[in-house]
Symmetry: C2
Subunit: 204 residues, 2 copies
DNA sequence: TTCACTTTTTGACTTTTGTCAAAAGATAAA
DNA sequence: TTTATCTTTTGACAAAAGTCAAAAAGTGAA
């Protein structure tokens, strides 16, 4: 039932009264005191070491994970190669959007790159929350609207910018990504070969 | 105040009791009879002729438009060239997501390609609806989740598929697009030059 | 430190895609 | 029909990016 157990047996899976998730969500809309407490009680804190697979291709994403500290990425396989679909930093929400919202098997994997602390909500619990406190639908809507706009920007970049400009955009907007992710991961994220990225980097 | 007036003076802007929007939305969740009526009263039916700009760059997208019949696209300018960001068919929702959700000036234009009939809701009216009937937040959330997944698929395609495969994907999944949109529009949508698309098409 | 392993860089070459210009085809109005 | 306009195709060449292989650099454990 719990997706993570077979994959990371050495991990702390304690239920805590953390307010980390609440703090993130209340940036989008106010949450009543009662809902806040109920939410906090649903949240499971998990510390996952580097190298763990938080989600495996073919399995269904049952958790919405809020990343307190650490670094993760999603990737899928294409002709045997791993292609990065996104990176997640502190305060980001980590889940396969497709698999979580549809509750169908995921086509992507989520991999912990740096030791991470997550605060996670189980799918059914979240559904319960949505039903009991309709205000959470507002938060959910605003939250996904934010991520939607990020996707639109990324499409724009892949659609019209040559590789060099895509790299320079990251250099300008997310320089910390270049410090924390490997060249190969970044290259596939940008949709180019590792060699091309290495050459672009050498000419700047 | 009304975005469309200066752009399309010859257009019918009648307030009707249409249930077109309701029919689209109730696929996502049930709507109470009362909310249904209130929604229908907010909807404005508009018939826009081919060539009209439904939204102009720099202006704020004040309407969420449901396309009953016709065909439209969004485009933005890049080095003086028009780049198509998406196409909209019957039953699609037409708006600049960025501009509508943030109520900031749009970077993209929306152009009517074939004479179209829209059912439109004004931003403030929709907000009122969200406040009065929280169930609409559920619909809004589910709806944007659906479009989110489509964007993810498009990123995947731009990230890893060569031009020929991107074209073949459309050929397979949206053959009607190839009938209704011009070669140049499709080429910029795929992120390639018109000449390349012409050559790809010649070799299939 | 040394060794094994992984990541990054470099070189040589190929393939894909873009650009510019001109021709061909299609469309619509006079 | 003729003309003007717009779209699509084709050719010749240039630029961007990929592939394969090998070297160099970095990392971590013994």
């Amino acid at each position: 039932m719990f997706l993570f157990k077979p994959l990371c047996t050495s991990i702390n899976t304690e239920k805590t009264n953390m307010y980390f998730v609440t703090e993130i969500l209340k940036q989008f809309a106010t949450i009543s005191e009662k809902a806040k407490i109920e939410l906090a009680e649903m949240v499971i804190k998990r510390e996952l070491p580097k190298g763990t697979l938080l989600l495996e291709e073919g399995k269904t994403c049952k958790y919405l994970n809020f990343l307190e500290s650490g670094f993760a990425r999603a990737f899928y396989y294409q002709d045997g190669k791993k292609i990065t679909s996104w990176f997640a930093f502190e305060n980001d929400i980590v889940a396969s959007m497709y698999s979580f919202t549809t509750q169908k098997p995921s086509f992507e994997n989520i991999e912990i790159i740096e030791n991470s602390v997550f605060h996670s909500i189980y799918f059914e619990q979240l559904e319960k929350l949505y039903r009991k406190y309709p205000e959470f639908n507002l938060i959910g809507r605003l939250l996904i609207e934010k991520y939607f706009i990020e996707l639109e920007e990324r499409i724009l970049s892949l659609q019209i910018q040559p590789a060099k400009e895509r790299y320079q955009k990251i250099l300008k907007n997310q320089p910390e990504l270049l410090q924390r992710a490997s060249l190969g991961h970044i290259a596939s994220y940008l949709g180019i070969s590792q060699e091309t990225l290495s050459r672009i980097r050498a000419n700047i």
